[in-house]
């Protein structure tokens, strides 16, 4: 399992992460980010890619 943390003080809800790891990140009906706090190890590469594309550099994997 990996643990995911998004700094919601930084996040501007751009939703770029959604395209890289759609099973972890999504924009809800109010266009606000929602994400799962944990994910399977198989999602690591996708979450790493989401970290790369987040304009606010708000996403971290906390081991």
């Amino acid at each position: 399992m990996i643990k995911i943390d998004v700094d919601m003080a930084k996040c501007q809800h751009y939703g770029q992460c959604v395209f890289e790891a759609p099973s972890v990140f999504e924009l809800n009906n109010d266009d606000k980010l929602e994400y799962t706090a944990t994910a399977d190890d198989s999602e690591r590469a996708n979450v790493e890619a989401a970290i790369d594309v987040c304009p606010m550099q708000a996403i971290r994997i906390v081991e």
Binding site: Q12, H13, Y14, D31, I51, Q57
Partner: protein, 389 residues
């Protein structure tokens, strides 16, 4: 031991290339040489939230990944020249660095005003962390700030300076801010939003000289008027950092011309097998649009080009390189997000929302959508993204 993959430029493009090489399985040595004293950091906050708070390396540094722990970082070191025939570069200390493959990631630097009375304190540009630290120190409440240039960086600095309580005037030759990218209607609306916050625009106007003895006191415009000024911010575009490559068989007319695999091209169109270019300095063809090679100075391009270089280098590249350019900008509480190449459009239409509130514009060339940009309304903007894949 074999020579390293040598990356010149220790910013986002250089960092992402090192990471991607490891991710795609290259285990050999990697050296990154950069002239700034800092480990790679993120530039967009330098004109936005970080400029409004305290500017420090810690606030903007990219997180270092374990995969690149063994990368040899040579910071604070300028590369002076390259000899592509002999696979070496030479730094400012005279040290010679041989390479097996070279990755050019030297980006851009700001263009500066060319004026007779130019040797004055109080002149700023915003590209590096040190630039932002120096500018931040001068942005005191009540300071008279003149920003030359009304592109994205100029407008972001205008918003930040205004938020900090400065008097802000924007001087630019265009008819409205960011107009070349956003199109007339959205640009005019962004101008209204800046004006509502108290920013003064002097458009269709150029700077002819500066006033002041030792520090800037005023900016002289081509209509003969002078705008009083304590802090001058020059945001008038950029130069490519390619001087160190001169004398080699390359096309350096604008950035470094590359093919779709990001291999640098010789004048005769034959690519160098072991010379790659990433980030802002790469002029690459994107078949998603047409055959014209372009520089795309957006934040997602260093990451995309780095990935492609690593795939090509490790012989895992498949299909064409067709990245979707994407940018965002934050000005006050206006958060703009765009996909595509807006500047290619011959027609721009409001496609959702209300121009005075949240809204989405479509950008079309010969009837085909080439870009989308919205203020807010993220899901709508994103629903068009698939058009550009």
């Amino acid at each position: 031991m074999s020579h390293p993959v040598l990356i010149v430029g220790a910013s986002m493009g250089g960092l992402r290339t090192a990471e991607a090489l490891r991710r795609f399985g290259y285990v050999g040595p990697i050296t990154v040489i950069g002239d700034e004293p800092y480990a790679p950091y993120n530039r967009p906050p330098l004109s936005k939230e970080v400029l409004a708070e305290t500017v420090s390396h810690e606030a903007v540094a990219f997180e270092q990944r374990e995969s690149t722990a063994d990368v040899n970082w040579v910071l604070g070191t300028r590369v002076e020249s390259a000899d592509l025939e002999h696979n070496i570069v030479t730094d400012a200390n005279g040290d010679v660095h041989p390479y097996s493959a070279l990755v050019i990631a030297t980006g851009l630097r700001p263009r500066r005003l060319n004026v007779a009375n130019g040797e004055l304190r109080g002149r700023h540009a915003v590209r590096t962390l040190d630039d932002a630290i120096a500018l931040r120190a001068d942005l005191k409440p009540g300071a008279r700030v003149v920003i030359v240039g009304a592109g994205f960086i100029g407008c972001e600095v205008a918003a930040t300076a205004r938020t900090l309580g400065c008097d802000v005037t924007v001087v630019a030759p265009g008819i409205s801010p960011m107009q070349r990218s956003l199109g007339t209607e959205l640009a005019a609306e962004m101008q209204r939003r800046h004006e509502a916050k108290g920013v003064v625009f002097r458009l269709k106007t150029a700077v002819t000289d500066l006033v002041g003895e030792s520090a800037v006191e005023g900016v002289v415009l081509d209509d003969g008027t002078t705008v009083p000024c304590d802090v001058l911010v020059e945001a008038i575009g950029s130069h490519e950092n390619t001087e160190w490559l001169e004398g080699n068989d390359l096309n350096l007319s604008a950035g470094v011309l590359v093919n779709n695999d990001l291999r640098a091209m010789r004048q005769n169109g034959v690519p160098w097998n072991n010379v790659f270019v990433v980030g802002d300095v790469a002029r690459f063809p994107n078949p998603a649009y047409d055959d014209d090679a372009r520089q795309i100075e957006h934040w997602n391009i260093p990451t995309e080009t780095a990935k492609r270089v690593a795939q090509v280098f490790t012989e895992q590249a498949q299909g064409e390189f067709r990245p979707i350019p994407s940018f965002w900008t934050d000005q006050y509480d206006n958060h703009l997000l765009a996909y595509g190449v807006l500047a290619l459009a011959d027609d721009v239409k409001l496609i959702d929302g209300d121009i005075t509130g949240d809204c989405v514009f479509g950008y079309y060339r010969s009837g085909k959508m080439v870009g989308v940009c919205g203020i807010g309304m993220r899901s709508v903007v994103q629903s068009y993204r698939a058009n550009f894949v």
